[in-house]
Every structure is written in structure tokens, then in C-alpha cells.
Symmetry: C2
Subunit: 410 residues, 2 copies
């Protein structure tokens, strides 16, 4: 079974907006063995949509439309699909009453254009919208199906998940696709590929894809089988070999973020952490505290941008800064030790570097970062030279800082 | 003149990848008066692409294809377009020699599949690829045009900008579109719309669009005219009226970020700032330091997650915390005053709140945030209740903190 997705809305044809609904839908469809033939975005224009839909129905048996179900003139989805599927629109009293009730309960009067939302392609299954006003629809013409879903992602997802997914699953003849995502850091993409290509190229199923971003690599395994347990055992087999080869470089096996993994280890060990950072400007602390419950292990952070702040907030001696420069091994260690002692945490992290684009010198170029991790018994230090712009250098440095802590916690 | 964009590549039909090239192209096309009729993504499948292309040529005079120009079997773009445009592929010796030369200069032998890249639709204009191997093509059949551009964004952009843009501009009969983006904060979308709808609805040109995200609203004006200066004066006229109405709520007139604007004002006033934040976890400091050169005005930040850290890093008296609770007006003010005095900055910002999802109580629910801005002569305080999840609450709180500083600096 193959599908096409059509996103409807002129705003999605501007440079400021993207159709992200199709990513969610693709993930879900793939998981039940339905591949995408193509996807499109059309404006609020009846003839374009009609053409696009008719062509799609020449190619596939399932068309999913998102958007264009609202109450205004622009909202053309229902009209066009009703015409193509030969299911003329009729007013459904029950839906009309629900919409009126909704308005009444908020003390509002329903404007007449909202009645449009009670028009239903005759014979279509109505999909209730639990998170908004506009209902969705499931249309069928012989063996061809169309789902009309609302545009707002949370409305669309709730509707698809509860009212479409299981039925599509039972229609899609038993092929199942399962995925596994490994994340790693501390290796280049090519080094990673050189180590695992001899393994994964032996497998046509699962299919392996490597995606790289600054300081992080994702390995995606996608297995196709007759049922989920078979797909999962295919994933287990290849997954174990990849894990054996890459070992500790892998920090997540189910797609978790690095800060989530670090938080999990800190919780397990009943350890705490504090951070004193310069070039990352608060990013290390900000990432650690993105995790709900992080107040159990993250106690404090100091963003020591000026030299005075390094002394004031993390007790780095002014003379140490003067002698070695603010971007140095000594100051990174001083920051880590100072903040740890002052905050009385198990670990202290120190980061100092040059994020650029200005401030570099021949000896200390943009991208030079010193990182330190301190505990009562041990101090680790790393010096790195990171490529890219300010944003990328800051991100990458935060990634290394968190990874130093993760490796220590292993 | 209307256009369609087709992105080619099976990887763009997975949940992990998106076609972002179309956003760049749309921006450029819009600026010279070419609107998009629709856009599509198709896999590496000849018949799907051929169908999509033939349909597109029924609707528009310009089709832009990205991707599928590489040297492998999968790369079908050239073949399909050559067939539809009736311009059979011929081997272009000059290109072949260039590719061979490229390999030789790197000490590599050219594999035979690379010769494929020297096949040219006969009569097509070759577009040189300055950033990669695969050349692009401009095909023409009577009044219809197709641009075949490579998939990697930096190759595509360089090629489009240098070899396509001016020619398209001269083809598009002089219509020009200019844009202006206002950004504001401190108002709801509906309050904003209620104030400016009476103004902008009087104008069919420029077209006004309002985009809202948590704590920030963008007003996009798009003017169409015969030349740029005419378009700009249309923008000036409506823009001035909108500015008059919204006044200080507008923080950016050219799309700048709030942290950039705050940085600009601090620089102008030769003022400095420090931050002591709890629930935002370093986000306020991180945003301020995203701006290159921020070390001139941002001196230090304290992420005071624990009560002890509030005392240790920002001198908030323990008794004050005990009496009022960590999330209170008094503690927000204490953080702002403490960090300002300790860092000897012109301004001090204090933020404390409950980002959730846990930690809320009936009196102090998730989303409650106290913010304070302190200077030598004045302390401002705000108490807000922000909706949404942890991430949104943190972002919105950082937005309010930066905006309090901006308004003080005006």
C-alpha cells in the first residue's frame, strides 16, 4: 500500500512556514508498512487541489490531506474531496448542534460561517476533533481512501492517532516497520562509518542510515518484517553488533538527548553537578535544566563572562587568569574546581573558550575551547579546536562538556 | 508568472529529512514577483517524477527541480526532464574533461559512473557548479522553463544566485515584491490584530500577515510594485501607521532578535547587565551571549537552581527565601539586586518561577514566574502566569525578562 500526503494552505507556500505534519504522518505510516510515493503542498485554490488529488488517485490508494478544514471561504478541502469522491456535502444536524453548544458554553454567539463546519461529504465517516472545532473525515470510493485532517499539529495528531492509525494498520496487510535510533558523540561521521560499515552493509534489512550534526551522530536502523516482534529481533541482532563495535561512544539507544542521559546517570548515582561556563554563555546549564526534575541533581551554574565574574562567582584567583589568560587549561580547571567547592556538588564543570567571530589570536584562535570536569578525587581536562560559527562552537562545546560528565558517570 | 518546485530524492520522503531548499527558492522567487503554485517531493522514481513534471507543465511556465543530479543510478532528474522537454542527452566532452581534471588534481581516478555527469540535455544551458561536481541545467521548450539544480543547499544557492536569479528577474515582467518584518512582544495576537486590523485591512497592497509564537508576534508586510523603490514606499506608508499604533511594543523593524536589540541599546547607553535566574536555567544569559560582542555588556550570570545557590551566587538572604518561598516577588527582586551589586553592572535581572511539569501547588501553579529588573535607582517587578509546557514557559519567561530590560533602555 502506498500513500500520498497533500498539505493545503497558501501560508505553507511562503518562505516562513513549512508543512511539518507530513513528518509525523510519514513516521506513523512507515511503521505500519505504508510508504510515501510523494508529498505536496498546494495553496487555497480549488483547481490546483482538485488536479493534485486526481493525479494522486491515479498513483496510490491512500491520500491524506491536512489543513483547509476551517470555517472560512478559503477552506476548500472538504468541497474538493467531496466532488472528486462523488460524495456531495450535506448538513449534519448533530455536528451543527455540537458546534453551537461549544460556542454557547463559552458565552459566545456562533457566527454563521461556522455552520460550514457541519457540512459532511455524504457517506463519509466523521472524525471527531477533540482538540479543536473542525471535524475530520474518512472518505472511501471503492478501494481508495482519503483522510481529511485538520492543519494544527496537535489536532491532527490526536485525530490520526485515535481514529485512523489502527484502521490503517489493519488495512496494510501485515508488513511492519520498526526503527531504532542510536546517538553518539566523540567521533567523526567518517570514523563512525569506517567502523560500522563492514557490519551494516551485510544487512539489507534493517536498512542503516547515518545522520551527522555538530558533535552528534545518529544511526537509524529500520527493519521491515511481518510483525513487530520479528522486526524488533532484526533490530536487536544488528543493533547489538553496532553497540559492540562503538561501545561507550553510544550515549542513547532510544533517541534520548544527551542531557537526559546525563540526568539519568546523575540520579542513579545520587550525584550532583554545578557548572561555571564562559564561552558557552549558560548553554550547558540551560541544557541540563531542560530536563524535568533536574533540580534534584543540578544545583547551580555561573556564567562567568568577565574575568571578574570568574573570580566573583567561581573563586578563580585573579593571578591565575592574569598568568595564563582567560582561555587556558588552568582557568578551565579553576572554574570547575571553584564552582564545585562553592556549590558543594559531586561534580563541577568548567568551560572557557573563544566562540568568535571576533576575539581570536594566532595562538588562541576562534574555536579554541578548554573544558574541565572536577570531582573530589580527579580533574579531567580537554582542549579542543572546534570548527564553524559562533552558534556551532557553543553547541559543540556544550556537547563535549556533557559528554565528559557522562563518560565519568559510566 | 507562476512556478512549481519539485524536490527529488527518496530520503526527502522519510520522517528524518525535509526539503528546505524550497524555502530559500520561494523567498527569492517571491522577491521578483514569481509566486508558487504548489511544491512537491518525489522519490528517486522515474515514472513518479515524469508524471509530476508533466502535470506541473500543465499549470505553470517555470519548474524548478532540486536534487537527483549526482552520478549514481538513482539520479534520474536529468533523464526525465530531457525526455519531457524532448532534448535528448548527449555527452559533452568539455564537461567530461573538467570532471576528469577535478579527479586528477586530487590524485584520484575517475570511476566510470562519473561520466554520467557529462551528459547534457541537447540545447540546454549548462549551469556551472562552483561548490560541487554535478552541473545544473536550464531547459527551455517554447515559453516553458525548467531549472535543474543540485540538492546540497550551498551548491544550489550559489548556482541559483549567480546563474539564474538575474535572468528570472528580467523574465518576470518587472513586478517586484519587497518585505518588511516587524517583531513585537508584550501583547497577545488578538490584541495586536484588534489594534492594527482597522489599518492594514484598508490596504490590499502591501499584504499583511501576522504570525504568533510564544511571547513573540511577527507582522509581515509584502508589497508588490513595478520596482523596488515603489514597493518600499508602499511598505513605508503602511509600516509607519502600524508603528504609530503599536509604538514601543515593536522591538524590531528589520527582523532582528530581541537579544540583538537589547544588546544594541546596552551598547548605545554604555550600560552593562548581569542575570540571576532560576526557572529559566541559564536561558536568559545564553540568549544575551548568542550575540557576538556581548562580552562588552554582559558580565555575568548565575543559574541559582537550589536555594543555597541563590544565597551563594546572588546574596539572597536565606531568611527572605524561607519567609516568602523561592518563587516570590521578594526573591526575584533579591536575585536582581544581588547579582547587580555583586557584578557591579548597570542592570540586574532576576527570574524565579515554576517551569513544571512538576513542582506546582494550588497557590503557586506551574507557569507562575516572578521577574525583576534592578538598577541603582529603581526596581521593576512583574508576576506572570504562563501557559504551555516546560520549554514554552522557560522561553516565554526569558522573552519577558529581555523585554523588561529593553523597555527600560528605551
Amino acid at each position: 500500500m502506498k500513500a500520498e500526503i497533500i498539505a493545503i494552505g497558501s501560508e505553507l507556500l511562503t518562505p516562513d512556514r513549512m508543512d511539518t505534519n507530513s513528518l509525523y504522518l510519514t513516521e506513523k505510516l512507515n511503521s505500519i508498512g505504508i510508504d510515501l510515493n510523494s508529498k505536496s503542498v498546494v495553496g487555497d485554490d480549488e483547481s490546483s487541489l482538485e488536479q493534485m488529488l486526481r493525479h494522486a488517485l491515479n498513483r496510490v490508494d491512500l491520500v491524506i490531506a491536512t489543513g483547509g478544514l476551517g470555517p472560512t471561504e478559503d477552506d476548500i478541502t472538504k468541497k474538493v474531496f467531496a466532488r472528486v469522491f462523488k460524495m456531495p456535502l450535506v448538513l449534519e444536524e448533530q455536528i451543527l448542534r455540537k458546534i453551537e453548544e461549544r460556542f454557547r458554553s463559552r458565552g459566545l454567539t456562533m457566527t454563521s460561517n461556522n455552520a460550514r463546519q457541519a457540512l459532511v461529504p455524504s457517506g463519509a465517516q466523521v472524525l471527531e476533533n477533540e482538540a479543536g472545532t473542525a471535524p475530520g473525515f474518512w472518505l472511501q470510493m471503492e478501494n481508495q481512501h482519503a483522510l481529511l485532517l485538520p492543519g494544527p499539529p496537535h489536532e491532527m495528531q490526536a485525530m490520526f492517532e485515535r481514529q485512523c492509525f489502527d484502521r490503517l494498520k489493519s488495512m496494510s496487510k501485515g508488513v511492519r516497520i520498526c526503527k531504532r535510533i542510536f546517538k553518539l558523540t566523540g567521533m567523526t561521521e567518517s570514523a563512525c562509518d569506517a567502523r560500522i560499515a563492514p557490519i551494516y552493509t551485510l544487512y539489507k534489512n534493517p536498512v542503516t542510515t547515518i545522520l551527522a550534526s555538530p558533535g552528534e551522530i545518529e544511526i537509524h536502523l529500520k527493519a521491515t518484517a511481518n510483525d513487530e516482534s520479528e522486526a524488533n529481533s532484526l533490530l536487536d541482532e544488528l543493533g547489538e553488533k553496532i553497540e559492540m563495535e562503538l561501545g561507550d561512544n553510544i550515549f542513547a539507544r532510544r533517541g534520548e538527548s544527551l542531557e537526559q542521559v546525563v540526568g539519568m546517570y546523575l540520579t542513579m548515582r545520587q550525584a550532583t553537578v554545578s557548572v561555571a561556563e564562559s564561552c558557552t554563555g549558560g548553554l550547558v546549564a540551560e541544557r541540563l535544566t531542560r530536563v524535568s526534575g533536574s533540580s534534584a541533581y543540578f544545583l547551580s551554574g555561573a556564567v562567568c563572562y568577565s574575568n571578574e565574574a570568574k573570580t566573583e562567582l567561581a573563586d578563580v584567583p585573579p593571578l591565575l587568569i592574569q598568568m595564563n589568560g582567560a582561555v587556558s587549561r588552568e582557568v578551565a580547571v579553576g572554574l570547575a574546581e571553584g564552582i564545585r567547592k562553592r556549590s558543594q556538588t559531586t561534580y563541577g564543570i568548567g568551560v572557557t573558550g573563544i566562540a568568535g567571530p571576533t576575539g581570536g589570536t594566532p595562538e588562541k584562535p576562534v574555536g579554541l575551547v578548554h573544558l574541565a570536569l572536577s570531582s573530589e578525587l580527579q580533574v579531567d581536562h580537554r582542549e579542543v579546536r572546534l570548527p564553524g560559527d559562533r552558534r556551532r562552537i557553543r553547541w559543540w562545546a556544550s556537547q563535549i562538556a556533557l559528554d565528559m560528565l557522562r563518560r565519568r558517570l559510566l
